[in-house]
């Protein structure tokens, strides 16, 4: 046991491990905050679609030769978020089709571009990194770290300031609208913040696994906790703990970061599922 701690301590001597840890935890915190709203508003699929859009944008950025991919990925993903929200409001089915179309299209075009204009000798590895985030978290530059910290803090502040409004719009959009709350504006805000989180989270888990980071902590918390506040707070804690555990495990065991974190999230979800089941049984038994 002591040996394990020593190994971990030794790894933390490295600057890139420290960066990975700071950024990983902040991303986990942010992604869990909106998870509850996205799950409850039945918007989970939008998160998935957006992450594929972000992949396409990343590919374009790589081909163009930008050192900081976020410059292109961020505005493209935000634009896509606004677009998807618009279409899904008009009609449910059309929205679904639009998400599928955009996301699969972006995925295919991204891969195609990366193959036609390869930026390194090993295209498959590049693609794998963007999809599953295996090493990108360990190769962050100091600029990216600060960008992540800044955007994460902004996300948390926006969430806290608009917490009551986000709750009202999530629980009952029509009521909120009828009593004069600008529901469309807050939906837009939710979509933009989601897009920002997704671009950030691509560094941690890669574009295919982002949805897991967003929805698993929320779903786990919803099994056990009963109020919106407790679900939000506990999903943030679950997400941070899972990310930290996953990061440590992957560093020590040498497993890919993204899938390891998601695996921890899944285990925690199963535990909470069981706990929730037991609690409801005990209640009924009384």
């Amino acid at each position: 046991m002591i040996e394990l701690f020593q190994t971990i301590a030794a790894y933390f001597e490295f600057r890139f491990v420290q960066y990975a840890f700071i950024v990983g935890i902040l991303i986990a915190l942010c992604s869990s905050l909106l998870g509850v709203t996205l799950v409850l508003k039945r918007f989970s699929f939008i998160g998935d679609g957006l992450s594929h859009m972000a992949f396409g944008a990343m590919a374009v950025a790589a081909v163009v030769g930008l050192t900081n991919n976020m410059i292109i990925a961020m505005p493209v993903t935000i634009g896509a978020a606004i677009l998807l929200l618009r279409t899904s409001q008009n009609s449910r089915i059309k929205g679904d089709a639009a998400v599928a179309m955009l996301s699969v299209g972006a995925l295919a075009m991204g891969y195609l571009l990366m193959n036609i204009f390869p930026t390194s000798s090993n295209v498959s590895a590049d693609v794998c990194t963007t999809l599953f985030g295996s090493v990108s978290i360990l190769t962050l530059s100091i600029v990216e770290v600060w960008l992540c910290i800044g955007l994460s803090i902004a996300t948390v502040i926006v969430f806290i300031l608009f917490y009551n409004k986000i709750f009202a719009v999530t629980f009952d959009e029509n009521f909120a609208r009828a009593t004069g709350t600008k529901a469309n504006l807050y939906n837009l805000l939710i979509a933009i913040v989601t897009a920002v989180i997704i671009v950030l989270a691509m560094n941690l888990v890669g574009s295919l696994l982002i949805s897991a980071l967003i929805i698993f902590p929320a779903l786990s918390a919803m099994r056990v906790f009963k109020s919106f506040k407790s679900v939000t707070i506990s999903s943030a804690i679950i997400s941070v703990v899972c990310a930290a555990t996953g990061l440590l495990t992957s560093i020590v065991a040498g497993t890919p970061v993204g899938p390891t974190i998601v695996a921890v999230d899944i285990v925690v979800f199963l535990i909470f599922l069981l706990v929730g089941f037991i609690i409801s049984r005990v209640r009924k038994g009384r």
Partner: protein
């Protein structure tokens, strides 16, 4: 002047009117029941009243005493709400949201309003309970408390007794009637003729539009036809 008046309103979707040239007025303290068959346009009328939809033509005039956003609304339950993790308190106080404006958090005064409405509807013991674990009648009382937080002048209720058992239905009607006695104007959409018992005015939309006092309505042909059809539905 009437609290709320509909002047030559036509409602519907995509320029396909469901109801045309509707004229009626709601006075302060009224209890108006809106009746009509399924598909007659009751829900569309309600959405138009709440400003969720624009009327195809005509206009809705609000008295200066009520702002357009000062309508307490009791909606039909949505699928989302069935497994929504929220406490009774969180839901009731969300009715005060329009009062906060740009302020991010609820003030002490708004919390007091929420407390008072929780008490009024006898929900003190359920305050910390999870909404999704409550019975249908309790859930409706929670949503009613939230509606009262949004307005103490005008309540709009959309089929409030759907899915409730007869005993709870009567209880809920009694609560609504007592709110009306306190001076709150009630507009209730229903296809339940039991709802008529408490109303003083009736708006019937369908093949023919009727608007007037309950007494006149009970003598009208609309009522004769509707009560027969309603009876058939219940069989």
């Amino acid at each position: 002047m009437a609290l709320l008046s509909f002047e030559n309103i036509s409602i519907g979707y995509d320029n396909n009117p469901i109801v045309e040239n509707l004229n009626f007025e709601v006075e302060q303290g009224d209890y108006l029941t809106v009746l009509g068959e399924n598909g007659a346009g009751k829900s569309t009328l309600l959405k138009t009243m709440l400003g969720l939809m624009k009327p195809l033509s005509g206009k809705i005039v609000f008295d200066k005493k009520v702002k357009k956003t000062e309508i307490g609304y009791l909606p039909q339950q949505t699928v989302v709400q069935k497994d929504f993790p929220a406490s009774v308190w969180e839901i009731v106080i969300s009715g005060c949201l329009s009062k906060t404006g740009l302020r991010p958090f609820y003030s002490k005064q708004e919390k007091e309003i929420a407390e008072a409405n929780i008490k009024k509807l006898g929900l003190e013991d359920l305050k910390k309970r999870c909404y999704r674990e409550l019975s249908g009648g309790q859930q409706q009382r929670v949503l009613l408390a939230r509606a009262l937080c949004a307005s103490n002048k005008l309540l709009v209720l959309d089929e409030p007794v759907t899915g409730l058992d007869p005993k709870v239905t009567v209880q809920l009607y009694e609560i609504i009637a007592s709110l009306n006695k306190e001076g709150i104007t009630i507009i209730m959409i229903s296809h339940d003729l039991q709802a008529l018992q408490y109303a003083n005015k009736v708006l019937h939309i369908g093949h023919q539009t009727f608007f007037g006092s309950k007494e006149d309505y009970l003598k009208s042909q609309d009522y004769q036809i509707f009560s027969k059809e309603g009876g058939k539905q219940n069989d």
